[in-house]
């Protein structure tokens, strides 16, 4: 279990992390979200014992990392943003070195290395120099290092960055399989990944905690999860009127494209609209092409929480999207502009995730979004 209490970290006059508190229970995966420069990596570095903290404390299974660093470090497997690998070693040599450094006994070392190699799928590359491996394989070797010996607490800073789509799925599956026995915290800016993988999300912005809760809770706070529906019909107004009459639907937006209508249905809390939508489509004679929960609601929560200057801005309600837009424009940061683009999009099927926007802004366009 991880407990972060009032964590503060200053660099000179800059506050990188400000009074951050949250807990992650054993057996859960916590997603750490925030725009670039929000303090995610700093917080993770502090939790892993790499950086010191200015104020507050980090408790791992009740042990303070400041008081008993070595005991805490024994419990942690950490994958930093850039995998800490030695180019002049082979994956096997490297993992053997890491296992010895972690204090695994000689007997269990070989087995731990084998497990890590097998689980991360680097068997074929085990005897090549890491310098000659591709970025995805290097990331996997870094991941293997983190899970070596299966420490109870796992911290992953963007574990799927730089991997190809298949590898992303494999790593996610691996993380999911580790959930039962471990406390896992991972940072990402791929929101679909956060929702699919995490039991709990912590959203930070400029070092401040903006929100903390299960993905569903956060979505509810953002006005509930909406439903994306695509039907074949020439008249968006007709579709809108049919769906608007359904019980439990609070708002409908629709746009048309190539004879297909893309509708987004906002529902009131706790309602499951899927059967009603299906029945309505049958009754009205629209061929139903797509029916799925929208990704947009978590996105809009994320954007609302991370587009201002700090915690004070986030107190506004969900209805002030236009406010955010002006905030974004007035903002000095590049993220403000990206957010403004997104919020300006209105309802409907939103295609650009904030992650993509940020990647484009940050120039690190190597993250794959699934």
């Amino acid at each position: 279990m991880i407990e972060v209490r009032n964590l503060t970290r200053r660099y000179g006059g800059n506050v990188a992390v400000n009074d951050l508190s949250f807990t992650v229970e054993r057996g859960t995966i916590c997603g750490f979200l925030g725009p670039n420069g929000a303090g995610k990596s700093t917080t993770m570095n502090i939790m892993a014992g790499y950086l010191g903290l200015t104020d507050g404390e980090v408790l791992l299974d009740g042990v303070s990392i400041a008081d008993e660093p070595e005991r805490c470090k024994r419990m942690i497997g950490y994958l930093p943003e850039q995998p800490p690998i030695y180019m002049d070693m082979t994956p096997e040599e490297y993992l053997d070195f890491a296992a010895e450094l972690r204090g695994l006994e000689r007997g269990e070392r070989a087995e731990a290395v084998e497990d890590a190699i097998r689980l991360t799928g680097v068997e074929d590359m085990r005897d090549r120099l890491i310098a000659n491996l591709s970025k995805g394989y290097r990331q996997r070797v870094g991941f293997a290092q983190a899970i070596l010996g299966f420490p109870p607490i796992l911290i992953f800073d963007e574990p799927t960055a730089g991997l190809d789509p298949k590898q992303i799925l494999e790593i996610r599956e691996l993380i999911r399989s580790l959930r039962r026995e471990h406390t896992i915290i991972l940072s990402t800016h791929i929101l679909s990944e956060a929702r699919g993988l995490c039991d709990k999300l912590v959203i930070v912005h400029r070092g401040n905690l903006m929100a903390d809760g299960a993905p569903e809770e956060l979505e509810r706070s953002g006005g509930g999860r909406s439903l994306d529906v695509v039907v074949r019909c020439g008249d968006p107004e007709l579709v809108r009127s049919v769906f608007a009459e359904l019980p439990g639907v609070t708002d409908v937006s629709a746009r048309t494209e190539d004879g297909e209508v893309f509708a987004s249905l906002t529902r009131s809390e706790g309602e499951d609209l899927r059967e009603r939508v299906f029945d309505a489509c049958v009754a009205a004679g629209f061929p139903l092409l797509t029916l799925r929960p929208s990704d947009a609601s978590l996105e809009s929560v994320f954007i609302r929480l991370t587009s201002g200057d700090g915690p004070d801005d986030a107190d506004g309600e969900t209805d002030d999207e236009t406010d955010n837009e002006t905030d974004g424009d007035a903002d000095d940061g590049a993220d403000g502009d990206a957010d403004a683009d997104n919020t300006g999009d209105g309802g409907g099927a939103r295609e650009d995730t904030p992650a993509r926007e940020e990647d484009a802004e940050g120039g690190g366009g190597d993250e794959s979004n699934l």
């Binding site: 790499y50 470090k73 942690i76 950490y78 800490p84 030695y86 890491a98």
Partner: protein, 288 residues
């Protein structure tokens, strides 16, 4: 520590650095060996070794420049500092690995006294003592180079900085001789040393109180000396600085054939100090 030591050692000999270092040192030692011992028939290898001192000044930075700087540049320090090993163990492991690399050419040079003995009378005790003294001096050089490497993430800066520092050490007696022999200059010299000590204490503790205490006590002692021993002050400064003279210490082994325990103590204590400072410098970065 053993894991770090083994990794570092392997890394020196996986890359070219270990071989280049060994080759360069051996080349220059054999040059002086041939000139001093083989061509002129002088029976002490120790003296030949003394002539090879400059190669240590140039080659040791080659060894030390990457030690800490590269970890920082490649972010592999994130591995070392988040694993259950102490920073002191990491630093010591690296230090011992470099010392081992340095020992390779010195071990090879152990053949030289045998060559001398095969053609005449060798002085094994003197020659092997001198080789041992060179290992200790090299250890001191390595610790200084490693410390400088821990201050930067740029290997070139680390190498140039280390060369400058080691060169200054190599000509230390000449530098001390340049200090004017007036009480005023001595006072300024002592004051500068005092300021350096206080700054170091502040850098290590991050608290003004201990640094002020060191500065205050030192200033009081200095004032007392100024009023009681004004005329001797210059001599005291030069004697004090002379304590740190590596060339004098090594000269006792190579020129006077004296097993200089004071000199060995100098090498070992300065090594220990800089190994300690390197660990502190790494730890301090967690806060900056």
């Amino acid at each position: 520590m053993r894991a770090i030591y083994r990794r570092e050692l392997r890394s020196y000999f996986n890359s070219m650095i270990g071989y280049i270092f060994t080759a360069v040192v051996i080349f220059f030692i054999s040059l002086t060996f041939r000139r001093v011992n083989l061509l002129t028939g002088f029976p002490y290898f120790a003296y030949a070794l003394a002539g090879a001192t400059p190669v240590f000044v140039l080659a040791v930075p080659l060894l030390t420049m990457r030690s800490m700087a590269e970890e920082r540049r490649n972010k592999t320090d994130q591995l070392l500092l988040t694993y259950p090993v102490s920073v002191q163990a990491v630093v010591l492991g690296k230090y011992l690995a470099m010392l081992t690399v340095l020992a390779v050419p010195l071990l090879i040079s152990c053949v030289c006294p045998l060559v001398i003995a095969s053609g005449g009378s060798g002085s094994f005790l003197i020659d092997y003592s001198a080789i041992f003294a060179f290992l200790c001096m090299g250890g001191m050089f390595i610790s200084i180079g490693m410390f400088i490497s821990s201050l930067t993430d740029n290997q070139i800066i680390a190498a140039v900085g280390s060369m400058g520092a080691l060169l200054a050490l190599a000509i230390w007696p000449e530098i001390v001789a340049l200090i004017p022999s007036t009480p005023d200059a001595a006072l300024a010299g002592f004051a500068a040393l005092l300021a350096l000590a206080a700054l170091t204490v502040y850098g290590l503790t991050r608290r003004p109180a201990p640094a002020c205490a060191v500065g205050g006590v030192g200033a009081a002692a200095l004032a007392a000396l100024w009023f009681t021993q004004k005329t001797n002050l210059s001599g005291m400064l030069k004697n004090f600085l002379g304590l740190f003279s590596a060339p004098d210490a090594i000269g006792n082994f190579t020129d006077y054939y004296v097993f200089d325990i004071k000199g060995l103590l100098l090498f070992i204590s300065v090594s220990a100090l800089f190994v300690f400072l390197t660990a502190q410098s790494v730890l301090k970065r967690r806060w900056s």
